[in-house]
Structures are given as structure tokens and as C-alpha cells.
């Protein structure tokens, strides 16, 4: 366990040794902040006057906070592959993976260490994004339950991205290939959702398979165990595949 922590903390620190994590966070925050402003502006200028007379109007949380988390998830489709490609593909390219392989570690320890390192970063992203809605407490009442479930849902969604990316990264020794294939897979799952929920060809199976369909209930404030189980299966499945791949490398590499 101590080795897993050592790998995780080193991975997390190394993210910030390069400009990568800083620029990713900066750009992500900049764009999300712009959108956040836009949502607020629209709410204040358009929505509020219209709904002022309604009995049970949709609140700030529904109209500003939920879309913010949704958009974070969408942006991270493009960002996560860049973070996951480093995990194995870049190490292979730089021949540094040998250090981990020849140290007294199991493949499970290596994979979990790297995954947890990325989870730390995901927690940071979710925390930073959550700061924006929290800042609204200065002027209004918020639905804290909904914010908590959205944040938790975002964390699960991003973790599933990370697990898929980690596996695809373990397949390749070219970071770019790892990133592109991860992006492709993540986007494919989104397309599954879109096609599954389209009016002409709706398919419940497609909707179920897509990671976004399980994220949306969280944004609505619904924490459903079946969604939770989906993410856990998704993450554990890809991590096991990555562990098998690393073990297999010694035989075929």
C-alpha cells in the first residue's frame, strides 16, 4: 500500500513539475468561468424576470450550477486523454517504465498507483470547479444536496475517463496514439448516448452503455446505486485490463 501511495504522490507531483497541469487547469478554469458568467448573466437578465411570478420557479442551482458541471464533463472529454497518455505511453517512449517494472512491485500496484495519482488531480479539478457555484452563496441560497451530488457525479465521470485512458495508454508506446484513441473511445460513448436517445433510433442499451447517461441523474440530484455500480464496473474493468496488459508485456514485449 505504501508503494501505491508513493507512486500516486509522485505521479501527482510530476504533473505539476511540467507546465501541463498548470496550463490545463488555467485554460479549463478560464473557459468555465466565462460560461459561468454567461449563465449568471442570462439568469439575471432573462430568466429571473420571467419566473418571478411563478409559484415554484427553477432556482439558481438548476439553471447555473447543473449546466456548469455538465460542461465540465464535456470539456474533460478532450482534456483527460492528454493527462492519461502520460501514464504508460510516455513512460514507455522515454524508457522510464523499466524503473517500475524492475522494482519489486506488482502490476496491480503500478496501475493503482498511477490511477490514484490521477484521481488526486480529478479531485482538484472538481474542487476548483465547485468553487464557482459556492461563490454564489454570497448572493443567494443554494441547493447543497444537488451541488454535492453533481460534484460526486463529475468525480465518477472523470474517474471513468481516467480508467479508460489509463488502459489505452498501457497499450501503446506512442503518447499521441494513446491520447487519440482515448479521445475516440470517450467520444464514441457520447455518440452512443446521442444515438441511443435520438427520436428515430432510440436504444436503451446504447443509452445504458454510455457514461454520460449515468452522469445526468447525478446532476439532477439523483444518486442512484445502479449508476454508481455502472461507474465502478467501468473503472474496475479497465483497471483490470491494464493490469493484465502489463503482466502480458513481460511475455510478449
Amino acid at each position: 500500500m505504501s508503494k501505491i501511495i508513493a507512486i500516486a504522490s509522485s505521479e501527482f507531483k510530476r504533473l505539476f513539475n511540467s507546465p501541463l497541469a498548470w496550463s490545463v487547469l488555467a485554460i479549463l478554469m478560464f473557459i468555465l468561468a466565462l460560461m459561468f458568467l454567461m449563465f449568471i448573466d442570462e439568469f439575471v437578465q432573462v430568466v429571473q424576470p420571467q419566473t418571478a411570478t411563478m409559484e415554484n420557479p427553477p432556482g439558481v442551482t438548476d439553471l447555473i450550477v447543473s449546466p456548469l458541471y455538465l460542461w465540465t464533463g464535456i470539456f474533460m472529454l478532450a482534456v483527460m486523454p492528454i493527462l492519461t497518455m502520460r501514464l504508460f505511453a510516455e513512460e514507455r517512449m522515454n524508457k522510464t517504465l523499466t524503473l517500475l517494472i524492475s522494482s519489486p512491485l506488482t502490476s496491480t500496484q503500478i496501475v493503482l498507483g498511477k490511477f490514484f495519482g490521477l484521481l488526486l488531480f480529478i479531485v482538484l479539478v472538481v474542487a476548483l470547479v465547485s468553487l464557482m457555484p459556492i461563490s454564489l452563496t454570497l448572493g443567494t441560497e443554494l441547493d447543497w444536496g444537488k451541488i454535492a451530488s453533481s460534484a460526486f457525479g463529475l468525480f465518477l465521470l472523470l474517474s471513468s475517463f481516467a480508467a479508460a485512458g489509463l488502459f489505452l495508454s498501457s497499450l501503446s508506446s506512442q503518447p499521441i496514439i494513446a491520447a487519440v484513441s482515448t479521445f475516440g473511445l470517450l467520444l464514441f460513448l457520447v455518440v452512443l448516448y446521442l444515438s441511443g436517445s435520438s427520436q428515430s433510433n432510440s436504444s436503451e442499451l446504447f443509452v445504458y452503455l454510455s457514461h454520460f447517461s449515468h452522469f445526468l441523474p447525478f446532476i439532477e440530484g439523483v444518486v442512484d446505486t445502479s449508476d454508481l455500480v455502472y461507474y465502478i464496473l467501468f473503472i474496475v474493468g479497465f483497471l483490470i485490463l491494464a493490469i493484465r496488459k502489463l503482466d502480458n508485456d513481460r511475455l510478449n514485449g
Partner: protein, 340 residues
């Protein structure tokens, strides 16, 4: 198993094979490393040295064969076995965006070094590899020689019984090469070392024993003295000053017992020179006597000794040359046949 401490076998690999698709990279290689020994793995590029080392360090599994590190089977108990190995691959596995100190602390955590002695261990490794001055610099900004040393520091950090270094001096300048060799010699005092290289003098400079690998197979494995004794054939260079025609001299020489072949060399001044190859034992007195009998003035009589380099080349190219000679013979036979 011998009971003496000095001959304790730390690494024992038997019948290692590694096949990549159609390519048989390592064929039936056996390797033994005893305590306190520096073993040199010598061979041309692509001979299978790196593959052998990757197998010994558990980076790849052998297609068949068994590896025991310190008595522990590497394939059955990889974690335990790897704990007693320090490995420097061809390219040092260093993270360019970390400082040497950060990097070594990370390695220490990976190698189960207890927290209390971790700092001490890192300091020792830094000191042994003369890295104290650059400990807080980013590895990416260090020169190749220093990066190599960080790689070595990583390999000896946990005081492993076996240190495996894959071409540790490649790409370094002569001064750095000397420094690294000194370091390896020093490591030999309290670690057992396996070192791979394609440079013979390097093995001569630091190793107790040499194992020569060519095209995946062991062609020689013993000490240097034994290597030096492996002269392919005893050869004598002789020079005579005489009026007798060369052909006659050669004819006379050929009558001597135990002569395999005689080759005419370029004459120096008026001296006729020959390379006389004996079939098993060098017999200089016989040649001298012969010269005396026929009244040739003996100007030169030197046994042609092969340098280790030549022996090495012979070992590596031996089979190949025999093969090509046979081919040539076959071709000329064909030509003759067609001429008839």
C-alpha cells in the same frame, strides 16, 4: 552447492531462450554470477546481451529457462527476487522533470527502504556516484554522464546483492568513461556486478570473468587467462636471407613435421618472410635448425601472438567465416565443373 561464502551463487540462469516472432534472440544461455564477482557480458550489437539482462531483471519473461536470484525463482516470486537486483538499462530510466534527489527518494520508496534509513541511503548513493553537487538540479538539465550516474545511483540505492548494468559507458566521453569504470570496480567490492558491453578493453579493465555472446549463443565463458590461451592456431613469422628461390624454401619448410600451412609475406629488404602455421604446437627450434642446415641466414623468428581483441573477433566471426569459405569453395567447384 558449495559452502564457502565466496562462491555463493547469486544469479543462476539455466537454458534461457527468448523468441520474438521468427527471431530467436537468445538461445540456451546459461549464466552464473557468484558473490563478489564482476561478470562482463561481451558481444557485438544485437547479440542478445540486452535481452538477456532484461530477462535477468524480470522486464521480460524468458520463452523457456529458469532464473534464480539469490536462490529465489524470479518467475515464481518476482517481487522477492527483484528486491535483490539493481538494474540500469541501456537508457537510464530517469524522469527528466524531477531533481536527482526527488528521483532517488521516489526510488527509495519503491524499493521498500525503511523510512528511518532512507535519507542515509540516498546520501550514500549520491556520494558514491559523486552526485552531491547536482542533487538539486533537474535531471533533464544534467549532462549525459551525470544522467548515467543518476541511473547507477538508482541501481545501487537499496544495496542490492546483484547490480546489473547494461552498457553503462555508452555515449560518454573518455574522462567520464574512466570515472564510471572506477565506480564499477568499486561496486565490485561489495556487490556482484553483471556488466554488458561491446567494448573488450572495458571488460578487461573491470571484470573478473567474461561471457561472450554472439547471435544469441554463448561462445565463451571463463576468465581472461583462459581467453588468452584460446589462440586459434600457433603461428610463427620467419624471415630468411638466402639466394634460394622462394618456392624451394617453401617446399623445404613444408617437409617439417606438424606444419599446417605456409603463407608468403612481403619481403623486407632482401629477407624472404613467411607465415608458418603449425597444426597444433609451435615449433620454432625446428625452423631455426632447418635454416641452419640449409645455410639460410635467419633474420626473424617471432611467434605471432593474438591479442584478446583478435581472439574476440575470431570467436565472433569464426563460424561466419567458415561458412563463407565453404560457400566460396562451393562456388569455385561449380565453376570448375562448368569449365569441364
Amino acid at each position: 552447492m558449495s559452502s564457502t561464502k565466496s562462491s555463493k551463487e547469486l544469479v543462476r540462469a539455466t537454458g534461457l531462450n527468448r523468441v520474438y516472432g521468427n527471431h530467436h534472440a537468445v538461445i540456451n544461455v546459461d549464466l552464473v554470477l557468484r558473490k563478489g564477482e564482476v561478470l562482463g557480458l561481451l558481444g557485438p550489437n544485437g547479440a542478445g546481451k540486452s535481452t538477456t539482462m532484461q530477462m535477468l531483471t524480470g522486464n521480460i519473461s524468458p520463452t523457456s529457462g529458469e532464473i534464480k536470484i539469490n536462490g529465489i525463482d524470479l518467475l515464481d516470486n518476482p517481487q522477492q527476487a527483484k528486491a535483490s537486483i539493481g538494474y540500469l538499462p541501456e537508457q537510464p530510466p530517469v524522469y527528466r522533470d524531477m531533481t536527482a534527489l526527488e528521483y532517488l527518494s521516489y526510488c527509495a520508496a519503491l524499493r521498500d527502504i525503511p523510512k528511518q534509513i532512507r535519507r542515509q541511503a540516498i546520501q550514500t548513493a549520491l556520494q558514491r556516484c559523486s552526485l552531491e553537487e547536482v542533487a538539486n538540479k533537474l535531471i533533464g538539465n544534467l549532462s549525459k554522464g551525470f544522467q548515467q550516474r543518476v541511473g547507477i545511483a538508482q541501481a545501487i540505492l537499496h544495496k542490492p546483492e546483484v547490480v546489473i548494468l547494461d552498457e553503462p559507458t555508452v555515449g560518454l566521453d573518455p574522462i567520464q568513461i574512466n570515472e564510471i569504470r572506477d565506480l564499477i570496480r568499486e561496486l565490485g567490492n561489495d556487490h556482484s556486478v553483471i556488466l554488458s558491453t561491446h567494448i573488450l578493453p572495458e571488460v578487461q579493465a573491470v571484470c573478473d570473468r567474461v561471457q561472450i555472446i554472439n547471435q544469441g549463443e554463448t561462445v565463451f565463458s571463463d576468465t581472461f587467462e583462459k581467453l588468452a590461451q584460446r589462440q586459434i592456431a600457433p603461428v610463427l613469422i620467419a624471415g630468411f636471407e638466402t639466394d634460394v628461390a622462394q618456392k624451394v624454401v617453401i617446399g623445404t619448410l613444408q617437409k617439417l613435421a606438424g606444419i599446417a600451412s605456409i603463407k608468403k609475406l612481403e619481403s623486407v629488404q632482401s629477407s624472404q618472410r613467411f607465415e608458418i602455421k603449425f597444426s597444433n604446437k609451435l615449433n620454432a627450434p625446428a625452423v631455426a635448425n632447418l635454416a641452419n642446415e640449409h645455410g639460410w641466414q635467419l633474420n626473424e623468428l617471432t611467434p605471432k601472438s593474438e591479442t584478446l581483441e583478435q581472439i574476440f573477433m575470431n570467436l565472433i566471426h569464426g563460424e561466419k567465416n567458415i561458412g563463407s569459405q565453404q560457400q566460396v569453395a562451393a562456388v569455385s567447384n561449380k565453376e570448375e565443373a562448368s569449365n569441364v
